[in-house]
């Protein structure tokens, strides 16, 4: 049974960038990325990989959906080329992530999904690498009235149902839900495959819809349920007391004694 899958993918500043690449602007309450490129949120890449595996095993039409202020077309193209069939981009100043919270984002995505048409399965990453909140997937499911399973490490479609291996802190569980459904995907699914150059070329011809705020018909102002009142740069750095000795073995010993002395242990 071939299914229609929508994968929600957010563009974020590369979370692997060094701490110095995240400039905290306290006055504007926003983080300004310095010298790091936008990437697809890693967990959303995992979600796309999960979708491609379903496509390989039982057939699927995959639409990649992304929402933001100004989306990098190169990043979208590479993701689509990994195995999606179409894309929808929802773009505009009103969609700058720093002005949206999870409720507003979920409402906008829900409106976009209704424009895409009937779908069987929505896959989202478990959380975004910038906000780290882990809310949009479940918010979307609530708005669309869909059953939702979080933290998938494996997603299969079997007989009109979705079967999910879900990550638990001490193991895993298997959960099933009727389609249509929403699943949030965890890193354990595995990395998104790299597209070939040929696939990237071919992906340029795949259908792409670009919507602006006026097309969506949802005004995100007034949809926020959480407000950021301040943003600060954390003081993560500490004064490191380096324990030195003539040999590494002696340094290990001395470290133990220092920790005992300072009553750390």
């Amino acid at each position: 049974m071939s299914v229609n899958i929508i994968v929600c993918a957010k563009q974020v500043p590369d979370p692997e960038g060094p701490p110095s690449s995240f400039e905290v602007n306290e006055a504007e309450r926003r983080v300004i990325p310095r010298g790091i490129p936008p990437v697809i949120n890693p967990f959303d890449e995992n979600a796309l990989e999960a979708a491609i595996r379903i496509k390989e095993s039982s057939g699927a039409f995959i639409t990649l959906l992304s929402l933001g202020r100004s989306l990098s077309r190169a990043v979208i193209l590479k993701a689509v080329a990994s195995g999606a069939d179409a894309s929808m981009l929802v773009e505009g100043d009103a969609f700058d992530p720093s002005g949206l919270d999870a409720s507003a984002t979920a409402s906008l995505l829900a409106a976009a999904i209704e424009k895409i048409g009937p779908c069987d399965l929505i896959l989202c990453g478990r959380q975004a690498a910038d906000t780290n909140a882990g809310l949009v997937g479940l918010g979307l499911a609530a708005i669309l009235g869909l059953p939702a399973v979080t933290l998938a490490q494996k997603v299969e479609v079997v007989d009109g149902r979705v079967r999910v291996e879900r990550v638990l802190p001490d193991g895993l569980e298997v959960v099933e839900a009727p389609l249509p459904a929403l699943v949030t995907v965890s890193g354990e699914v595995g990395d998104l495959r790299y597209p070939s150059l040929q696939a990237i070329k071919a992906a340029k011809a795949l259908p792409q819809t670009v919507l602006g705020p006026e097309d969506l018909g949802v005004d995100p102002s007034g949809l926020r349920r959480v407000e950021t009142v301040a943003l600060k740069a954390p003081s993560r750095e500490r004064n490191c007391k380096l324990v030195e000795a003539d040999t590494p073995e002696e340094a290990g010993r001395k470290l133990a004694l220092t920790l005992r002395q300072d009553k750390v242990i």
Partner: protein
């Protein structure tokens, strides 16, 4: 905006029908908020056969314990848990609902928040009352920034990291435990089975000491030395992402933004360079100790103690010296 309502804590049970330690910590935090706002503190516990845990919670300072005890709530099914507690939240909306940033909290609170259209702040490392408002502090951008947030709705919800709140001293005079009737709709989600991989005698998130290994461990063997040290210190073993990706350590061990977030009293980082992704999972630890052969490794910048050297030479003598000086 005029806001009313009490502070409510959603408690969980740990092994052996005891309240989870995160829930006891939230009793301390909840009491601070209730006192700060001049309101009362309720704790809600859901499950099957949770009588002992409910009575135990009643000793940690709440004004009431609401017990939703029903056979259908034995194992976590979000559909059943959500419906069970929703009625309670609708009939008397709290000013705030706090839960742990645990597997259950992360899954259930968003469902409740979106059902009731409430603002929810997840993964809090601080919660405080200021000017009559509840402010939530949480790391964003992988811990490269700290956001102070508030809900714009009458009820605020939050999930709070382990070891943020302080467990209050138990009282000899427990409060009342009030049973609440449980609705049991037919769930849409069906739990087909569970497989337990990790021994939860000492859960990583709750361990007072965490000993973690990184890429420089070079293989599985090194982790047995980390386990030896962890067990000597009554702690748990963690790992950064590379050892997990390489299969040297189970995924349940991973500390970082894509794994578990820990805040132990002591974190020992062995052969870990200190990527942003790993730091986000442990930078709230009380004391951080690093052993790494690269003197320029970023981990030394965020550590309190460090040894520059090969762990293969440093660690055995470190562990041996700790064992020799162990206090009884």
């Amino acid at each position: 905006m005029e806001r009313s309502g009490k502070i409510m804590v959603l408690a969980e049970t740990a092994k052996g029908d005891r309240p989870a330690s995160i829930s006891l910590e939230l009793m301390g935090l909840g009491r601070e908020l209730a006192d700060g706002l001049g309101t009362s503190l309720s704790v809600v516990i859901l499950g099957s056969g949770v009588g002992d845990a409910a009575r135990e919670l009643a000793r940690y300072g709440p004004d009431e314990v609401l017990s939703l005890d029903h056979p259908s709530l034995g194992a976590y099914n979000p559909d059943l848990y959500k419906e069970a507690i929703l009625g309670l939240l609708k009939s008397s909306p709290p000013r705030a609902l706090l839960a742990g940033h645990t597997s259950l909290g992360q899954d259930l609170l968003p469902r409740l928040a979106f059902s009731l259209d409430c603002g929810l702040v997840t993964d809090c490392v601080g919660v405080k009352v200021e000017g009559g408002e509840i402010l939530f502090i949480r790391p964003v951008f992988g811990g490269n920034a700290l956001a102070v947030q508030k809900a714009t709705t009458d009820t605020a919800m939050a999930t709070v990291r382990a070891r943020v709140g302080e467990v209050p001293a138990p009282s000899a005079t427990p409060c009342e435990v009030r049973p609440v009737e449980v609705e049991t709709p037919a769930p849409r989600l069906e739990i087909k089975g569970r497989e337990i991989i990790e021994d939860r005698e000492c859960p990583l998130e709750e361990a007072p000491v965490v000993v973690s290994g990184g890429r420089g461990m070079g293989g599985e063997e090194g982790f047995s030395q980390l386990r030896e040290l962890a067990s000597l210190l009554g702690g748990a073993v963690g790992a950064s992402r590379p050892p997990v990706d390489s299969g040297w350590a189970p995924t349940t061990c991973q500390v970082g933004i894509t794994g578990k977030v820990v805040a132990p009293d002591l974190y020992i980082a062995v052969a870990i360079s200190g990527s942003t992704q790993h730091l986000s999972g442990m930078s709230e630890a009380g004391k951080i100790v690093a052993i790494n052969k690269d003197p320029d490794a970023y981990i030394f910048k965020v550590s309190d103690y460090g040894v520059v050297g090969d762990w293969k030479q440093v660690l055995p003598s470190f562990t041996a010296a700790l064992r020799e000086t162990a206090r009884d």
